[in-house]
């Protein structure tokens, strides 16, 4: 399976800093800080090159994953709308707005 098929390039690309890339970059940075803590080094000040590398790696992987996620969601949406287009009989009533009073049965109190 290809990670990003060619038709995924027809979708608008996500911004460089999106939810996935920011979160995974943050996770990479945290793992560098955790490595500092486990090896008894100063947490923030030590191994800046390691923090930068892991954060960059997280951003990169996050961006690719978000692109694939958007492609998967777009593919499912396309199939859904194609199905709706091919079966108008099942969906033609979605245009009217129904009031709740029309859906409920009439109220006949038993007293």
């Amino acid at each position: 399976m290809v990670f990003l098929p060619d038709e995924s390039r027809s979708l608008p690309p996500p911004p460089l800093l999106n939810k996935g890339s920011v979160w995974l970059g943050f996770a990479g940075w945290m793992s560098a800080l955790l490595d500092n803590a486990f090896n008894q080094r100063p947490i923030l000040g030590a191994g800046v090159h390691r923090q930068v590398l892991l954060a960059s790696l997280g951003c990169f992987v996050g961006y690719q994953l978000v692109k694939r996620t958007e492609y998967m969601h777009a593919k499912v949406d396309r199939e859904l709308f194609e199905y709706i287009r091919h079966h108008p009989v099942d969906f033609h009533r979605s245009g009217e707005k129904k009031r709740i009073g029309q859906l409920l049965e009439d109220f006949h109190p038993i007293r």
Binding site: R9, S10, P12, A37, N39, L53, F60, Y63
Partner: protein, 84 residues
């Protein structure tokens, strides 16, 4: 994992297992004591170089994606207009 266990024991969260009768036991993690005094310049250079390369690749790919999307949008709009 050994570093993590050592840290947990230092913080008092994990107690050490009872030692066997042979008193002299040595963990493999103690043999190679890594000294953080001198910077590992090769590692620093490689890490910063790889980070720069990763960011360059990411920005380049993002720009290429934007260009390709715009190009395909133009092609799609052009097709529907039924030009002569």
């Amino acid at each position: 994992m050994a570093a993590g266990l050592r840290a947990l024991r230092r913080w008092g969260l994990v107690t050490a297992a009872p030692r066997p009768s042979l008193a002299f036991t040595r963990s493999a993690s103690v043999v190679n004591k890594v000294s953080n005094a001198q910077p590992n310049w090769l590692g620093v250079g490689l890490a910063f170089g790889t980070s720069a390369a990763l960011w360059a690749l990411l920005v380049k790919q993002h720009n290429e994606d934007v260009m390709e999307y715009e190009r395909r949008k133009q092609a799609r709009d052009h097709k529907c207009r039924e030009c002569s």
